[in-house]
């Protein structure tokens, strides 16, 4: 048994005596006796490192995760350059707390300032915060930004947003008294812009995803025009890995850009930790929630980074703060920044192009099979797309036999497929062969 307590029994006894006590129990005299547990906690027996390692392998072996993956839907398998986990493992970074003492936290603060700059450059906006928990909570926080900035309690959102993001927005909106209005999709799988215009009355703005949950690229310029014509603000929920090729939110006039930074060098890790990024125009900077790093100087004129604009935050404004966020996802933010700086402009373009190429190749191969159809054939997509096929469940079962994870089966029976730079042409051939066999054996013809 161990507790990472270095002091020996003898030392502990001496310490107790130095404060006039004889046993550990004396320290807890303030706790009423009848409330105390008075028995050992009922927990599994302690373990050595060796035993713990074996135990964790047991859990790992209950998973079946290593094979080819064709599933995204909000979390994506991309290649993570090895320098990212290695550098993030510098314990000067990861064993630090929030950088309250700037003089001894310049490493973290400068890294954050660099992260904010990277996010601004990716999104084409003026200011970014130091992160929130994930993409969904970024969307929820964006609702509050819209409410506070426009002083209106109605917000429109696209039906084509990721349903997990919508679910989190609804949870927060219920508490904040914000009315959420869903804007339907057209049969092309994108925002019904007329419905946006028709519902903007009294609304603070519109939250749209690009690409959306179904993989489709939205007509963001037209959406932006419709929202701004009605005096609203546009929030663009984007997948950052697209931005090496796809136009940036700032390019089409988005006022706020948000999303999940997981594709930028963060492992899948069964759903987290990821990182929610938020960027905004200069006008909206003070509406951003949470920590923000800023540049200033010391008395000698050296450049110094600090946490700034703190009077917006919970530790100062308390119940008047627009968000309660305190700890965010700092280390994940820095990993995302490392990823972008490792890839550079050429690498970000290359990875985006490879995703487009692979997804389109896979889509064309799948749709060459009898009984498989692209749901939105005339709408551009990035690395995800929906197919309509009978027997989606059977297809995934057949693929699972080879430890392959196929597209996500949607509630309506369609399949949402994803391909990234991690998938190879050989995998596409193999997957299509299995699907063809499955459709043959269960009768996939319509």
């Amino acid at each position: 048994m161990r507790s990472y307590v270095p002091n020996t029994e003898k030392e502990r006894q001496e310490m107790l005596e130095s404060i006039g006590m004889t046993e550990m129990d004396d320290l807890f005299a303030d706790i009423p006796k009848d409330l105390r547990l008075n028995r050992p906690l009922d927990l599994p027996k302690p373990m050595s490192e060796m035993e713990l390692r074996d135990l964790l392998y047991d859990y790992v072996s209950m998973n079946d995760e290593g094979g080819p993956l064709f599933r995204g839907a909000g979390a994506y398998r991309h290649y993570i350059p090895s320098l990212i986990p290695q550098l993030a493992a510098r314990s000067e970074f990861y064993t630090a707390y929030t950088p309250y003492q700037a003089e001894m936290s310049q490493g973290m603060l400068q890294s954050l300032f660099e992260y904010q700059t990277v996010i601004c450059d990716l999104t084409g906006l003026d200011a970014a915060n130091a992160s929130v928990y994930d993409g969904a909570t970024a969307a929820a926080e964006a609702l509050l930004m819209l409410r506070d900035n426009k002083r209106k309690k109605k917000v429109l959102y696209a039906a084509s947003l990721n349903p997990n993001v919508v679910a989190v927005m609804k949870t927060y909106a219920h508490c904040a008294g914000i009315e959420l209005v869903e804007i339907p999709m057209t049969d092309k799988g994108v925002t019904d812009i007329e419905a946006v215009a028709a519902n903007m009355d009294g609304a603070a703005g519109y939250i749209a995803a690009n690409p959306n949950y179904y993989g489709c690229l939205e007509p963001m310029d037209d959406i932006s025009a419709a929202v701004h014509a009605a005096g609203g603000l546009l929030v663009a929920y984007v997948n950052p890995i697209t931005l090496g090729v796809i136009r940036r939110p700032g390019d089409y006039g988005a006022d706020i850009a948000i999303g999940d930074g997981q594709p930028l060098g963060l492992p899948l890790a069964f759903g987290g930790p990821y990182v929610g990024f938020m960027a905004a125009t200069k006008k909206l900077m003070r509406n951003l929630p949470g920590r923000i790093a800023g540049e200033t100087t010391d008395a000698e004129g050296n450049r110094v980074f600090v946490l700034t604009l703190q009077a917006r935050e919970q530790h100062i404004r308390r119940e008047m703060a627009s968000s309660n966020i305190c700890s965010n996802q700092m280390l994940c933010a820095i990993m995302a920044s490392m990823y972008c700086c490792t890839m550079g402009p050429a690498g970000m373009r290359e990875v985006a192009e490879q995703n487009i190429n692979k997804a389109h190749f896979l889509a064309s191969k799948l749709c060459a099979l009898d009984g498989v159809k692209l749901r939105y054939p005339n709408t551009p997509f990035f690395n995800e797309f929906v197919i309509d096929v009978k027997n989606a469940e059977e297809i995934n079962k057949a693929l699972a036999k080879y430890s392959i994870t196929g597209g996500l089966v949607l509630p309506d029976g369609g399949m949402l497929w994803c391909a990234t730079e991690m998938n190879s042409a050989d995998e596409f051939d193999f997957v299509c062969d299995i699907i063809e066999d499955t459709l043959d054996s269960v009768g996939g013809e319509e």
Partner: protein, 124 residues
Amino acid sequence: MAPNDRKYTRDHEWVMVEGNVAKMGITAHAAEALGDIVYVELPAVGDETVMGESYCVVESVKASSSVYSAVTGKVVEINEELDGAPEKLNEDAFANFIAAVEFTEINEAELMNAEEYEKFCEEE
């Protein structure tokens, strides 16, 4: 010294009434207590203010304070200079108003003159 040309509240705001418009700001005493003011969250023209309720927030590095309205009415003018130069409130709080409000209600009996306000500050 608090100027004689205006009235004062117990929350350390000043109010200068001309016709049905009240110009309002914070006192030098309030500005000093706040320290270096870094941001003034101004109301918008057209906003309604309610007597005794917050219409503006003033921030220092480590604090934020509500500024309460001495009148009920509608904001007709704001001091936009404070947006880029909040330090003006530290330099001369009495020379820099925050907002002018066309009011429908004011309780003059609750307000102090300069002498009374100085005494109030000393006692507080």
